[in-house]
């Protein structure tokens, strides 16, 4: 297996882990807000966590896309 593919696998796995964290946090947030069990502080903390997980996901996807030929990524965009 070549090195670039290994790095791509790693980046995609990281992206998936971060996205999974986001989905879990979103699920937690929706359940607590619907039941009105959360305080304003909890909600804000949860939103911050979701933003952080999404940022991590985007960064991991960027690492993956950085390994692809630039002209291909530009063409797809």
């Amino acid at each position: 297996m070549n090195e670039r593919q290994t790095l791509q696998f790693g980046a995609r796995n990281e992206a998936w882990i971060s996205l999974d964290n986001f989905l879990s946090e979103l699920d937690f947030y929706s359940s607590t807000t619907r039941n009105s069990r959360s305080t304003s502080n909890d909600s804000q903390e949860s939103i911050d966590d979701m933003i952080k997980y999404l940022t991590d996901t985007i960064q991991a996807m960027d690492r993956d896309l950085d390994l692809a030929p630039v002209e291909d990524v530009e063409a797809v965009q």
Partner: protein
């Protein structure tokens, strides 16, 4: 024809010469009479070769999930394989943007985030009705 010794000689390429500055060998590698290189010389030659000559940089062929789950190596290295990633990346950036803008309110409209999340996971292109200026979009 009996004992006449024949030496096969190869000359190193310029590249190899350039990388063999620590070697005190001559610029020629002598083959044995049977046409084979001594093992020590062969090792030395292999060390001098750039890895790209030993391991050809072929397109990736490995996959981390089995074919039965949909892994398809026939399109490795093609542009269409990048499309889902780019679409998903843009959609995730839109979700984040929505959260950042609306998260300042005490309760964010979950339906909006949920719809965008589902859209992102279905790899469909989502439209940002609020603002199309995504600073973090891929450049």
């Amino acid at each position: 024809m009996g004992n006449r010794s024949t030496n096969y000689v190869i000359t190193r390429t310029t590249t190899i010469k350039a990388t063999s500055s620590t070697s005190n060998q001559s610029d020629e590698v002598r083959f044995r009479q049977d046409g084979k290189v001594d093992s020590s010389l062969r090792r030395q030659l292999l060390l001098l070769l750039p890895f790209s000559l030993i391991l050809p940089s072929s397109p990736a062929v490995a996959r981390n999930i089995p074919v039965s789950t949909g892994a398809d190596t026939s399109r490795v290295g093609t542009r269409p394989t990048l499309l889902p990633l780019v679409t998903m990346r843009k959609n995730i950036a839109l979700i984040r943007q929505t959260l950042q803008k609306q998260g300042r309110n005490e309760v964010i409209p979950l339906d909006d985030v949920m719809i965008k999340t589902k859209t992102a996971l279905m790899l469909k292109s989502s439209k940002n009705t609020d603002n199309n200026n995504d600073d973090s979009a891929i450049m």
